[in-house]
């Protein structure tokens, strides 16, 4: 693909000079996912039960709320890149591909925002109900 010829660059076929960015972010978030999801798994299985009262009390602790929020950012970032690769591999139509990647961005940012806000609300309001 137009590796450096003038007409190739005009048509946008040359290197965008940022080809490795997603690759690196996917690996950085893989490491943070590894740490944070293992933290979640070990924390959850060590809880005595999963009643609402205990969940609120547990999530109110900064040492739970903060890693939970960081985990949401890490997970949604990682899955945004991963699902983009899925779409790029299996959706040949350019319009459909573009639309699905836009939807994916809405899903990733909206989902992360809802999750983080929920954790913040629990942490800041504590046991009310």
């Amino acid at each position: 693909m137009g590796s450096g010829t003038n007409i190739g660059r005009v048509r946008g076929l040359g290197s965008a000079q940022e080809g490795a960015h997603h690759w690196i972010v996917q690996r950085v978030t893989a490491v943070s996912n590894l740490l944070l999801v293992l933290w979640l798994v070990f924390s959850l299985i060590r809880l005595p039960n999963f009643e609402h009262e205990l969940m609120v009390e547990w999530l109110s602790s900064p040492l739970v709320a903060v890693p939970m929020m960081l985990m949401l950012v890490s997970i949604f970032w990682h899955l945004r890149i991963g699902l983009q690769v899925l779409i790029e591999d299996y959706v040949p139509d350019h319009g459909m591909k573009f639309g699905l990647i836009v939807l994916l961005n809405f899903f990733a940012i909206g989902g992360a925002a809802l999750g983080i806000f929920s954790v913040a609300k629990i942490a800041f309001t504590g046991v009310v109900a």
Partner: protein, 137 residues
């Protein structure tokens, strides 16, 4: 890419799926994508729903739990998601080694490709045995 000339050209085609001999490295690659996309499309929305339900109050959380209890659905999904996580985790660790340029020798690659799903099954089983022994779910 070379495909620009389309089907009119008479160039040799790359071996297609039916020509490949099935091997563990193919299985672990397919499982990596399937488990990752499965967690992204099922597990993560459930995680957010769980956090939202806790934040919205006891009734909302009870509704979440009513879906969890419906016909063992929660157990089926959680076992699937926990296996997906461990499979994706071990497979991802394998990818880190491959990224470093190591582990491409045929026997080594084959060995780790078999080890990854086995480790995921063993870890998932161990975790659920621990959960069952504590009787917390």
């Amino acid at each position: 890419m070379a495909g620009a000339s389309g089907s009119a050209s008479n160039r040799p085609l790359s071996p297609h799926l039916q020509v490949y001999k099935w091997g563990p490295h193919m299985l672990v690659s397919i499982l990596h994508r399937a488990t990752g996309d499965g967690m992204a499309l099922v597990g993560v929305p459930l995680l957010v729903w769980w956090l939202y339900a806790i934040s919205a109050g006891p009734e909302s959380y009870a509704y979440f739990q009513s879906w969890f209890d419906w016909f063992y659905l929660g157990y089926i999904v959680l076992v699937g998601m926990s296996f997906s996580f461990f499979e994706h985790m071990y497979s991802g660790l394998r990818h880190f080694v491959l990224d470093a340029g190591a582990g491409y020798e045929l026997q080594t690659n084959r060995m780790w490709s078999i080890a990854v799903p086995l480790a995921a099954i063993i870890t998932t089983g161990a975790m659920w045995l621990y959960i069952a022994s504590k009787n917390i779910l």
